[in-house]
């Protein structure tokens, strides 16, 4: 298939145009605007699907599309400087596109139900369209600069959507907090971009890989740090901000102030995943910068820490928010332990089931107008479809076999285990990872049981809950999403071990197609050529044969066996842990054989710490900002105006005043007694003479004129 810019760009441009159009018409034609938004994202979805199918049919790991055009050109004379923008699609992008557009489409559809009685129904869709186009732009970007641009645009959308209910004080705080926290990461990200840009001369991924392979980055130190480490760390800071890794995770729970569908889209499925996506793209740099251990620990701490906080949350959305942070931590672990493919797979599977979970939560909230789990209970009879969807998703996130979460998370944990056996430094990662998995299973089912099982705890709420009926925009999106929590869609088999052929030969397509850009393989990008706008793709499109898929990943037999064994152990362990967590939750909240209150009393200090989210907010807001930054600013401002300006600058006035009084004395007493009065007017004499020959008869004047002229002319001699 030939790609031109016009066959790819609409993916971004459709939602963007929807945004532009809607921004103007939304006030008057709300329904139309909503329709345009939905239609645009659906169009994007179709385009993405086409690309995905194309990539699947080519089935090659080195197939990619790269379109470049010049954004602006500063070349003048001998200075050459050009900023290019472009579209880069490889297998990872194709999968990502399908996930983003698919999830976004379903969430758009769901939002038409969820938001329809909101006074700002239309505006919500305006933001959604802009957000979606920014996310798609990010996914399609071929360079870090445009990633950054769309990254920030998403930050803006997120800001707007978190602050969607801007009348509420909390929403305003949360939106600002989200923007500022991610901005901290962004500043580092920009720094990383600058570091790469100044060395590579462009920010395009392929250029960067090529430069890395060519060793251009070696031996350059920035502020005493190797360039790769510096740039890798800076960019990873961006990921930490966007993907809510410790210590920049504080914004994500607060982001639940936004409407639930936007939580589903932004703060669970796509935007937070963008950070991980970026890290995956930048993986070669990070690996070259020896950052993997650091990254793995950041991920592990996040995964475990967030899971612990989730244990004590009572707000259904808060539980989901912390589970999001925790799952993002798993993805980051995956990056850290070199489990590139599994990390990306977890990104995709997580996006699907987390979107579904949030939508389900939205469905619950919309039905009972309450977010507190202690007031729910027994809703499974009232909301059967939501319950079904949520159940599947909980299975998926807990890592129950045959579900998508198992396939991906198990591989991450397995790889972590492999790393731990090889390198003692990673033991902590593996332990935290498995511990987090246990907690995940526990708190997710705690949430499920508290919400849907048992007796209704608040009969008022329960009785007023709406009976759920099948509706195309209320629970059909949930059911569609919950269908994709099944593992076979990703692995081609239920277990992820490669036995069942579902789509003919395309088994384990995910693991085959997504390959880590090793430094040895990134050299293949060196032969790329820039293509101008609108040209067709001339890349090599020869597919790799199936034989190219090597289940041992090119490793030696012995090593492969070792890995295989460890993976098996990991799988068994994670299955056990998942069921253990579910069992604990069951016995605590359904059978009530274990009393949760006993545990909270037993670990009271811990519980308090968990309830306060490990005091991060207190530290950041209370200590650093309130006690540190603002007083410092005040001091600085006082110094500026009160001291420097008042004495340093205005002090001159005193000197001047003295000089002024002297000169005034001089002026008044010496100069002021001048003599500038004396030339009057005296020119009224001639008119007496002239008046006499004024008869006032025009014709007389005329005749006099003629006669005088005649007498003059007749005296002339020609």
């Amino acid at each position: 298939m030939d790609y031109t810019l016009t066959t790819v760009a609409p993916i971004v441009l459709l939602p963007f145009f929807a945004f532009v159009i809607n921004a103007f018409i939304v006030k008057r034609f709300t329904k139309l605007a909503v329709g345009i938004s939905c239609a645009a994202i659906f169009g994007s979805f179709l385009y993405s699907l086409k690309i995905f199918i194309d990539f699947l049919s080519v089935y090659s790991t080195n197939y990619y599309i790269h379109k470049v055009f010049t954004w602006f050109d500063l070349s003048a004379g001998e200075h050459l400087f050009k900023v290019n923008m472009g579209i880069y699609i490889d297998n990872m992008t194709a999968v990502m596109l399908l996930m983003v557009t698919g999830a976004a489409t379903l969430i758009h559809v769901f939002s038409t139900w969820y938001m329809h009685d909101d006074p700002r129904f239309g505006r919500f869709f305006v933001y959604l369209s802009l957000f979606t186009s920014a996310m798609l732009g990010l996914v399609l970007s071929d360079n870090l600069l445009s990633v950054f641009i769309f990254w920030e645009l998403m930050g803006f959308c997120s800001y707007s959507l978190i602050g969607f209910y801007y009348e509420k004080e909390g929403a305003g705080n949360a939106s600002m907090k989200a923007f500022m926290t991610t901005r901290v990461g962004d500043v580092f990200f920009l720094l990383g971009i600058l570091a790469i840009w100044s060395v590579v001369g462009s920010t395009t991924f392929v250029d960067m890989y090529a430069a890395l392979a060519a060793g251009k980055l070696n031996g350059i130190m920035i502020l005493g740090i190797p360039l790769a480490t510096f740039a890798g760390f800076s960019v990873f800071m961006g990921t930490m901000g966007k993907s809510a890794q410790v210590p920049l995770q504080v914004w994500l729970p607060d982001a639940m102030w936004g409407p639930t569908p936007c939580s589903a889209l932004i703060h669970a499925a796509t935007m937070v995943a963008a950070g991980v996506y970026l890290s995956l793209r930048m993986y070669p740099i990070m690996e070259a910068g020896h950052l993997t251990t650091f990254i793995a620990y950041i991920g592990a701490i996040t995964a475990f820490g967030a899971a612990t906080v989730a244990l004590v949350q009572t707000d259904i959305k808060a539980v989901l928010a912390y589970s999001t942070i925790s799952q993002l931590g798993y993805m980051v672990i995956g990056i850290g332990v070199g489990s590139y493919n599994a990390s990306f797979m977890h990104l995709i599977t997580h996006a699907v089931f987390k979107a579904c979970l949030f939508l389900s939560a939205g469905s619950v909230i919309h039905s009972i107008h309450c977010q507190e789990m202690p007031q729910m209970g027994g809703l499974r009879k009232k909301l059967p479809y939501t319950f079904f969807a949520m159940l599947l998703c909980c299975f998926a996130i807990a890592g129950v076999p045959f579900f998508s979460g198992f396939v991906s998370k198990d591989r991450i944990l397995g790889d972590a285990l492999v790393m731990a056996t090889e390198n003692k430094a990673f033991i902590g990662v593996a332990i935290l990872g498995f511990g987090g998995a246990l907690l995940t299973a526990f708190y997710m089912f705690r949430m499920l049981f508290l919400t849907f099982f048992g007796e209704p705890r608040d009969h008022h709420i329960y009785d007023h809950a709406h009976e759920e009926h099948i509706g195309w925009n209320s629970n059909v999106p949930l059911l569609i999403l919950s269908l994709f929590t099944l593992g076979l869609f990703y692995s081609g088999s239920f277990t992820g071990q490669g036995e069942v052929n579902l789509f003919g030969s395309k088994y384990e397509w995910f693991q085959t197609l997504i390959k880590k850009p090793e430094v040895s393989t990134v050299a293949q990008f060196t032969d790329y050529q820039r293509e101008d706008l609108g040209m067709t793709d001339t890349r090599d499109k020869v597919a790799l044969t199936k034989a190219a898929y090597d289940s041992t990943y090119g490793l030696s037999e012995e090593k492969a066996h070792h890995i295989h064994v460890v993976h098996r152990i990991g799988a068994v362990l994670s299955i056990f842990i998942a069921f253990l967590g579910i069992f604990l939750a069951y016995s605590m909240y359904v059978k009530k054989t274990l009393n949760p209150g006993w545990w909270t009393n037993k670990f009271a200090a811990w519980t308090r710490a968990l309830k306060n989210k490990y005091y991060f907010d207190d530290l950041y807001v209370g200590k650093i900002i309130q006690k540190g930054l603002l007083p410092f600013n005040d001091l600085l401002s006082r110094f500026d105006m009160g001291f420097y300006d008042k004495y340093g600058v205005d002090g001159w006035a005193t000197v001047n005043r003295w000089a002024y009084s002297v000169s005034r004395w001089f002026d008044n007493n010496i100069v002021d007694s001048g003599m500038v009065d004396g030339t009057g007017a005296s020119v009224r004499l001639m008119n007496v003479v002239l008046r006499t020959i004024q008869s006032g008869r025009v014709q007389l004047y005329f005749i006099v004129l003629i006669v005088v002229l005649a007498s003059y002319v007749l005296t002339l001699r020609f």
Binding site: R691, T692, Q694, S695, G696, R697, V698, Q699, F702, I703, I706
Partner: protein, 101 residues
Amino acid sequence: MISLSSYLFISLVLFLCGIFVMVARKNIIAILLGIELILNASALNFAAYTKFLNNNLEGHIMSLFIIVIAAAEAAVGLGIVIRFFQLRESIHIDDASTLQN
């Protein structure tokens, strides 16, 4: 037949008629008519000289400016006449002699 002298003759006649009208009439508007005739005579002269003497169109330019000035003069002149009539209910030329002495 189309020659400089014939044109000069025509313009002479126009001019004399203009002079005559200007002097003979006592009506301000009629005097303005005479002025138009005089201006036309001079404009015609310029055009004729250009054609028959050097053909460099400078005369046309002069004629154009004369026409422009004639238009301006007519506008302002008639404005004055109307105003004068409003004030004095007369357009006799000799009534407009307040400036005498």
